[in-house]
């Protein structure tokens, strides 16, 4: 079913909207949540919360593209759940991905003192636009979807080491990119 039709069902407050959303994007949402939580039950609960989030937000929102919108909800819920689950203990998946980024973006002075989140997002967006497609997709799949290096390697038909090196170079490029734009790193 087309995304527009699914959104229409949401607007009609038809529960079929959830059914169709689940059919179309349930697996993708589950994968995102699972990548972060590494727990099937938790991931499934996140997916259900994602549907609820969509139900509560559509209407008034009319997201386009719907898929990215749903994925974003799933990711946010999964991260929230992750923080609840691991208030003290650190998860070795999501944290590892975040650590990799932080290693390049951290400094004595907090990033938040320098730029707002929105500004930082805009800079990251612009940086991603400047990358070639392979490196960009790799970067997004690693740090947005929290996919493992081996999954990405399989997707790109490369070995894990190559992916690790590419990601490392891209992080370094991001670091330099942000420094050039006045972000204290």
């Amino acid at each position: 079913m087309d995304d527009s039709k699914i959104i229409e069902l949401f607007y009609e407050r038809s529960e079929q909207a959830i059914v169709e959303l689940s059919k179309k994007y349930g697996d993708t949402c589950h994968k995102i949540a699972f990548n972060i939580l590494k727990n099937d039950l938790d991931a499934q609960e996140c997916v259900n919360d994602t549907y609820l989030g969509a139900w509560n937000n559509i209407p008034p929102q009319r997201p386009n593209p719907l898929r990215a919108y749903i994925c974003r909800i799933a990711r946010n819920i999964a991260i929230k759940r992750y923080h609840q689950n691991t208030a003290k203990k650190r998860n070795s998946y999501y944290d590892v991905a975040l650590d990799e980024l932080e290693d390049y973006l951290s400094s004595g002075a907090s990033v938040e003192d320098e730029v707002s989140t929105a500004e930082l997002t805009k800079m990251i967006d612009d940086f991603l636009d400047g990358l070639d497609k392979t490196n960009r997709v790799m970067f997004v799949r690693r740090y947005w979807f929290s996919e493992s290096v081996s999954e990405i390697a399989a997707l790109f038909n490369m070995n894990s080491h190559t992916v690790t090196v590419r990601l490392s170079r891209t992080r370094e490029r991001l670091r330099r990119y942000l420094i050039e734009r006045g972000v204290t790193i």
Binding site: V96, T117, I124, F145, F156
Partner: protein, 291 residues
């Protein structure tokens, strides 16, 4: 807070990047999905093409095409090859050199011929060595399962390897995979037959980085196994805690490269270390495993 900030900023990136990443995955997964009919279809098409291409070749060699003589009932093959035993029209003669036969199995597909243990897939049987006409039980693609920790992998294997006490650098990316057999008729049997545990890890010492691969090949009860064929075999041996370790040390591409293999409990262990430093560090990891 800094971490959350970075996470939040990155989490808010444009939908177009998210869409692109998803679409790329879908496209690639579609193109990489192994469909049995594609494999067999390709093979059959290749065979048919060879048969059809061989007909003009046979004519060029002065042989009458067998099918051309069906109507008048004359012997199918004349000329230099006419003394073959099968004269019946329309029946393929296996002795006819004009018909291309599949190449013989050279045995090169043997497991363990690859020089690089980290990239070598388990032997699933080489398609090109199979008779396309024969019916064989279907085999499944070797499942590779990634685990979050060595403990998880051990639980899945229901067996503890010597890597139980391994200390990994948690600041570095670690991949822990188990390769299960692909030479089985179904996935259930595949998972009952683990072939290899592979741990890709690295250790950041500040001044240098070690990339360390830990492997266990299950039921490979020979250190002569060609699994690490291609590496410099220096024949170095030493005993650590009663275990005989065969190892080699050399420099490759500016890196200090060391590799050790030893048997334990009927399984072949391989530890491969590439260090960006100036000294070999293989012993650090060997001692960690065999302490």
């Amino acid at each position: 807070m800094k971490r959350e900030k970075i996470s939040e900023a990155f989490g808010n990136i444009s939908s177009r990047h998210i869409e692109e990443a998803i679409e790329f995955g879908e496209k690639e997964e579609t193109s990489h999905v192994k469909r049995p009919w594609v494999k067999w279809g390709t093979l059959m098409a290749a065979c048919l093409a060879l048969v059809f291409l061989s007909i003009p070749l046979v004519n060029l060699l002065g042989i009458n095409a067998p099918l051309a003589n069906i109507q008048d009932g004359t012997p199918a093959i004349e000329g230099p090859l006419a003394n073959t035993e099968n004269k019946e029209p329309g029946i393929q003669n296996n002795n006819n050199p004009g018909i291309v036969t599949p190449p013989e199995n050279t045995g090169d597909g043997e497991y363990g011929k690859d020089n690089n243990p980290s990239t070598m897939p388990p032997d699933t049987g080489s398609d090109q060595n199979k008779d396309p006409g024969s019916v064989e039980p279907p085999t499944v693609k070797p499942p590779t399962v990634e685990y979050g920790s060595i403990e998880e992998a051990h639980n899945a294997l229901k067996y503890n390897t010597l890597y139980s006490n391994l200390i990994l650098d948690e600041s570095q990316q670690v991949d822990i995979n188990v390769l299960f057999s692909g030479d089985t008729p179904d996935v259930e049997s595949a998972f009952a037959n683990p072939q290899e545990l592979v741990i890709h890890s690295s250790y950041d010492y500040g001044e240098f980085i070690d990339m360390v691969d830990y492997n266990v090949l299950f039921n490979k009860a020979s250190v002569d196994d060609s699994y690490i064929g291609g590496y410099v075999e220096q024949g170095l041996t030493k005993e650590i805690n009663g275990v005989t370790v065969h190892y080699c040390l050399f420099e490759s591409n500016g890196r200090m490269h060391g590799q050790a293999k030893f048997l334990h409990d009927g399984n072949l262990y391989v530890i491969d270390v590439k260090s960006s430093g100036t000294e070999h560090t293989l012993d650090i990891y060997l001692n960690m495993v065999l302490k």
